[in-house]
């Protein structure tokens, strides 16, 4: 049955060499050149297998912002954890699961300038005297989830503040003009009618 296999007796020497290599560089000894017909480079030939590289287009800090895309630079926020409130026994008493996030609103470069006054107006209760915007969350038992909740809230607030009323379409403009004209015509009709009534009250001129 194994007549077709070749016995490589000198592999014991290679095994020892491999053991030596393991101590020096674990990565190279564990890596294998085996590639089947369903390997990742066969399934996705145009994709770069290095998914740990930095994607340069995603975080562009020098870009002048016209619209909020949803990106929040986490290192520009001051994140602190404290103990949560509510029931939960020893866990809630001891573990810092509440997350507070704050940043200075006016100096935040990642929010477009035209959104800042609108945000301030909308969430004036969240801003301190020094101008720090504060978001807190103790919704869950886990700090990571509370932090995600804070970011979610913040993102939603900024999106809401950046909502502009939609521009009227041509149909809407025409409809409004028609209605205004109709209302104006009605007013004029009433005026003329009233004027006639008043004229009829005076004596006729011959």
């Amino acid at each position: 049955m194994f007549r077709t296999y070749s016995v490589l007796r000198n592999l014991s020497r290679q095994c020892n060499r491999r053991l030596l290599m393991q101590r020096e560089n674990p990565a190279s000894s564990v890596a294998c050149g085996y590639k089947s017909h369903v390997s990742i480079d066969q399934l996705y030939p145009s994709s770069n297998p290095d998914f740990l590289r930095k994607k340069t287009e995603f975080q562009n800090e020098e870009q002048t912002l016209e619209k909020f895309e949803g990106f929040i630079p986490v290192d520009q926020l001051e994140i602190s954890a404290s103990r949560s409130s509510g029931p939960g026994g020893q866990h809630v008493n001891k573990v810092n699961s509440k997350v507070e996030m704050r940043f200075h609103l006016q100096t935040a470069s990642w929010i477009p300038d035209w959104i800042k006054p609108r945000l301030l107006q909308q969430e004036h209760g969240r801003v301190t005297k020094d101008g720090f915007f504060v978001v807190r969350s103790d919704m869950t038992r886990k700090q990571m989830l509370n932090q995600a909740d804070c970011l979610n809230k913040l993102r939603n607030m900024i999106y809401k503040a950046s909502e502009l009323p939609p521009e009227p379409t041509d149909e809407e403009i025409q409809l409004k003009q028609k209605r205004m004209a109709k209302a104006k015509a009605g007013v004029l009709r009433e005026k003329r009618n009233r004027s006639l009534i008043k004229q009829n009250r005076t004596s006729p001129e011959f």
Partner: protein, 294 residues
């Protein structure tokens, strides 16, 4: 071009004698069996005299003369529906994993897979109980602080965030039961002298999960995994580390091929522990078999 196996089979047939009545015999189950327990007098067909029994008008089983039957009083609860087919993934929490790492029970300088976790002796699974691997749960996600290359069978988004936050990588990977048997105890498997099996493609209902970049499936597109990492970092509020000059980057990127089950060993190889050598197939049929999924 006929392959070696086909040639051998044909040669075998050529060498054999001609098929004749003196060198064939019928299959065992075709032997004539005397019919036992048959009726002599078939008049009443074993139904007795007259009545419902003879006329076949008995009420169905469970019928209670019109009263609501006992079997229908409570609703149907399919607790055991498809129990033999449903896959189970015994859990390991992030807290347990951190403890294993802190106590040096797993080597952080190498990729951690199901074999590493089973080798600690503190985790086990049973293929007979429909266990299909490790389910990494999110308990202890706030305390987890280890940079590892992890391979599990099932996990959630929060766990992926906790591991990537610390600069590590995680992959979800499917193994079929024969491969799991080899992975659970590689030493016992190598002693058997069997060739390393190739891993099967996941079943249809899990193929979507293992191709999903959001769950870091081993069959997912690496470009989409990169995007998913960035999105998750934005969702959970952490910064992805720059691993350009990191010496551990090569180890973190290490992945097994979809048909491969052991790092550094190919399917089809036979590991001989006594002579400390590996036997590799040379025949093109074998090589084709061990390099394809079908």
């Amino acid at each position: 071009m006929a392959s070696k196996v086909t040639e051998q089979a044909l040669n075998l047939i050529k060498a054999m004698p001609r098929v004749a009545l003196n060198n064939i015999k019928p299959l065992p189950y075709t032997a004539f069996k005397k019919k036992v327990n048959r009726q002599g007098n078939r008049k009443k067909k074993g139904r007795g005299d007259k009545g419902q029994g003879a006329r076949g008008t008995w009420d169905p089983l469970g019928y209670e003369g019109g009263q609501h039957p006992l079997i229908d009083t409570s609703p149907r609860e399919r607790y055991y529906a498809q129990y033999a087919v449903r896959r189970q993934y015994p859990p390991v929490s992030l807290l347990e994993l951190q403890r294993l790492i802190d106590l040096n029970r797993v080597d952080v300088s190498r990729p951690i897979d199901i074999t590493s976790i089973c080798n600690t002796g503190l985790y086990s699974f049973h293929i007979s109980k429909n266990h299909f691997g490790v389910n990494l749960t999110d308990e202890g996600c706030d305390q987890f602080a280890a940079k590892i290359n992890l391979e599990v069978q099932w996990t959630s988004e929060l766990v992926i965030a906790a591991i990537e936050k610390n600069g590590g990588t995680i992959t979800t990977r499917y193994y079929d039961p024969p491969c799991l048997a080899a992975l659970y105890d590689p030493l016992t498997f190598f002693k058997k002298g069997q060739p390393i099996p190739k891993c099967k493609v996941p079943p249809q209902d899990t193929l979507a999960y293992y191709s999903d970049p959001n769950f870091r499936g081993y069959l997912a597109d690496p470009e989409k995994v990169l995007e998913a990492r960035e999105k998750l970092a934005q969702k959970y509020g952490y910064k992805l580390p720059d691993l350009k000059d990191d010496p551990v980057k090569e180890m973190l990127l290490m992945r097994k091929d979809p048909l491969q089950i052991f790092y550094g060993l190919e399917p089809g190889w036979v590991v001989n522990l006594t002579e400390k050598c590996i036997l590799k197939p040379k025949d093109e049929d074998y090589l084709r078999y061990y390099h394809t999924a079908y």
